[in-house]
Symmetry: C2
Subunit: 523 residues, 2 copies
């Protein structure tokens, strides 16, 4: 049995090595590859993806998993060996259901569709992408139908990145959140918008990068196992637990971009760097779901990086880096600027309050498309109507409307968006649990710029486990509660009750929530 | 038949993609990888190398090659299709003779041996590496013996990088060269050494890199398909014909290092960038042998980059980049400095005259070891005796003696060194053929810094063909002569006859050689 388990691990290591190399091909394409390398690079990535899929879906792996079942059952559920077998089986059973030929066909279609989109978006030409989107929707339904027996056609697509989560559950959570969010958004946006002109000045790139990376290191990003490079779109990528990289971009006329994208990607990187080293090369050695991953990028970006406590310590440092630009800007003005809430057109630029409305809009349209209640030919109008209803703005064009996000034009429709909002919700849930265990966290950050208590709690309760537990399992284990919007709503009211005139300032609701929240203070 | 040929190409493309990814893993390890990534990276490279070997030695490829034999024979020898089949068969037949288990064993041994060497060299401790070297020699003999029927045991090892070349032929060429070189070295080193103090000043890194890269571009290095990064040891690497990269290093207290290593690697890169784009992804898409490859790095580094004509044009530019350091140094002094000849301890720092003696020393010791005429236990003394005989210097220690080169401590013994000197010889041979066709080349370089006539001749006659022809074939095709030391000796005498007092200044010998050399001037 030991030999079979070892053979499984050896095979998984090979799959891991091929995927890691594919990841490096992608990283290099985004950072340093000369333009002439593009054609061959696309092919090389496709070859390695195919190989890693072939190796992972090798029937020998299925046989090993079958043979190891009695062994797995003889072990405790949360033993490392049982978890490795369980998680591998789950991924294997999913992988073998999707024919390689289908994956290749979709990849080809996606490449074409993406190419057309890059031209159609600046030309504001939804009609050009329509036939591609229709095919994409068709592929999306086919992909779901490789998993018959679902409750909702979107379930198999959601499960790809959020195992244990279903469409109806997401819809239920989103409806609950929406009911709370809409009045907050309405209250804030009826008031004078914050003045963020202090962020729109000239900030030299090098100093921006240096400051952001310095904060990342202070958060706990281990540069011995990481690095930062510049790319068009920021991302985090991992080639091994010893090599977890982030990328960022800068806008020299806007301070908010590089800084917060660095802190966001650092959150992702802290999660991956925190995984137990002995999981290296196995399917356990990665964050457990999109939503949980996003919770960590959001936690470090927003709950820490956009908090008043953080800037109590760091704003003087930022001022000393940019004395001409910020010397005369007081801390409160700066805090209001980086937390400005407004109804805007573009999801990726949205603030942490309105962001979720963007996600819900897309999620609901995706469900309607998959269910057949909405046709692609009506998508443009459906978008515009829903956008006006949610944001009170009619998108002036399709470029910044239905054409704005790459997702539908590069991958399947369904399952691509919910993680962003689940992440926002879970960020607060993890944070409040850490805070309940260590109420000194905010003061440590404010007085000393010390993040290790928070970071250690997250490592101990979340990061180290990688994919050992599913998202629902780890949320329950770490926080003593299933996913709940309560901490998030209480956090938003407390935070924005300070900046804006809300019904109340949120202090009482936050305190009541914390008091009722599971867990005992350790201090 | 067309279908089988297509299948062969598809399989070769897969092998190529895996190897290219392995190459990128290596490039990244040398340039940007954080230290924590090292352990996994070694394993990832090993996995990809093994996979690419497995895919290339798949019996299906052997069957395709057999099936394609009548097709190949029906085509002209130098048709692309026949060449692709022929070159693939040659490489396939070599690859299948070496068991994968043996390759893995040697790789493990090499990694261990390398590790020990990195500690033993600074400690000047030959005894520590001895047992490893003994095993290496044993592996080297085993490797040769996978190819029974050789004339000399070193032949199969030499053929790995220099197909068509044999040990006795190398020995014959080296003996001939040696007879000519020794008197030149003796004559030069009996004279006052050149003053190269102008190179040993402080030259800021950034300006060095910028100047070197500017010259590389002028040579014709296409930055749309290339880039330069910094590494500990400079190298050239290729991920596709659209992505051919070089690396360099700088010493801020020595101008010669970055500049000439950049020009050297640019020569390698020009060769690879010049290969016909329709060879992409096939075994034809790479330089044909180590010796021919080295001829191009040497040609651009030495015959162009260290020529008086080159600096006639470029020295004022260099002076304007480094006015404080070189403003008061005249061009002749600079030319003498960069062409200083001296007997020195380290091969990689040696000038272009004495360099070959270092190579011959190693080559002869390798043959003696493989033949069993020399034991590893006597290698240290054999080195010292030979070094004293050739250079008139007793190496003060083993660190800069028998322990200096990584080759024996990281790969097999045999076949690793001759390419350097064959490259020196061939550099002059290709150059004189280009010169014979276009006598305006030196004047173009001198007056205008124009390299395109030379570059185009090399592309047309050498680069474009990749591995289509063997080294002996392409040398004969491009120069109308088999490998000959005549151009090289004439070049050395002409060049160093200017700087040093030799029997004659070499002008007549050069002119006679050119006159007798095959080919008709086109101008």
């Amino acid at each position: 049995m030991e030999a079979k388990f070892q053979e499984l691990k050896t095979r998984l290591l090979e799959v891991n090595d091929i995927s890691s190399a594919a990841g490096l091909l992608h990283w290099d394409q985004s950072t340093y590859m000369p333009p002439g390398g593009a054609a061959a690079r696309g092919r090389q990535m496709a070859t390695l993806s195919r190989l890693s899929h072939e190796k992972f879906t090798d029937p020998a792996i299925g046989k090993l998993l079958d043979a190891l079942e009695p062994y797995e059952k003889s072990l405790p559920y949360d033993s490392d060996a049982a978890s490795l077998i369980r998680v591998t089986r789950r991924k294997y059973e999913r992988a073998i259901k999707i024919p390689a030929a289908f994956t290749a066909e979709v990849a080809n279609h996606s490449a074409e569709s993406f190419q057309v989109w890059t031209e159609a978006r600046p030309a504001n030409d939804f009609a050009r992408v329509r036939p591609y989107l229709e095919k994409t929707l068709d592929y999306s339904r086919q992909a779901a139908n490789f998993f018959p027996g679902y409750d909702h056609i979107a379930d198999p697509l959601i499960e790809a990145s959020e195992y244990g989560m279903k469409a109806t559950e997401v819809s239920r959570i989103f409806a609950e959140l929406r009911a709370e969010l809409v009045p907050i958004v309405a209250a804030i946006t009826s008031q004078e918008p914050a003045d963020d002109s202090c962020l729109h000045q000239y900030f030299p790139e090098e100093k921006q990068l240096e400051f952001g990376l310095e904060v990342a290191k202070q958060f706990g990003y281990d540069m011995n196992r990481g690095r930062q490079d510049k790319t068009h779109h920021p991302f985090m990528t991992k080639f091994s637990l010893g090599d977890v990289r982030i990328t960022t971009r800068t806008k020299e006329n806007f301070l908010g971009d590089a800084l917060f994208s660095t802190l966001h990607e650092t959150g992702h990187a802290l999660y991956e760097q925190g995984i137990r080293m002995d999981f290296e090369g196995t399917p356990l050695a990665r964050g457990t779901s999109s939503g949980v991953h996003e919770s960590q990028s959001r936690l470090w970006e927003n709950l820490v990086g956009r908090s008043r406590g953080f800037w109590y310590h760091y704003y003087p440092k930022l001022q000393s880096v940019f004395p001409e630009q910020l010397g005369a800007v007081d801390r409160d003005t700066f805090n209001r600027a980086i937390n400005k809430v407004e109804c805007s057109l573009i999801r990726t630029n949205a603030d942490e309050v309105t962001y979720n409305l963007h996600v819900m809009l897309r999620f609901d349209l995706e469900l309607a498309l998959l269910e057949g209640k909405l046709e692609i030919r009506d998508l443009r109008n459906a978008w515009r109507e829903r956008f006006e209803a949610d944001f009170g703005i009619v998108p002036p064009d399709d470029k910044d409307g239905v054409l704005q996000d790459v997702h539908w034009y590069y991958s399947l429709i369904g399952g691509g968006f919910q993680g962003y909002t689940l992440g926002n919700i879970l960020a607060s849930q993890f944070y409040v649990s850490a805070f309940k265990a260590h109420p000194e966290i905010p003061a440590e950050i404010k007085r000393e710029g010390k993040f290790s208590t928070l970071h250690n709690w997250l490592k101990e309760n979340l990061y180290q486990h990688g994919s050992k537990y599913t998202a629902p399992e780890i949320v329950e284990r770490a926080t003593g509660s299933p996913l709940s919007i309560k901490p998030y709503i209480a956090y938003l009211k407390l935070k924005y009750g300070y900046f804006y005139d809300l019904d109340d300032d949120g202090t009482q609701q936050w305190e009541d929530m914390v008091k009722a929240w599971p867990g005992q203070s350790a201090s």
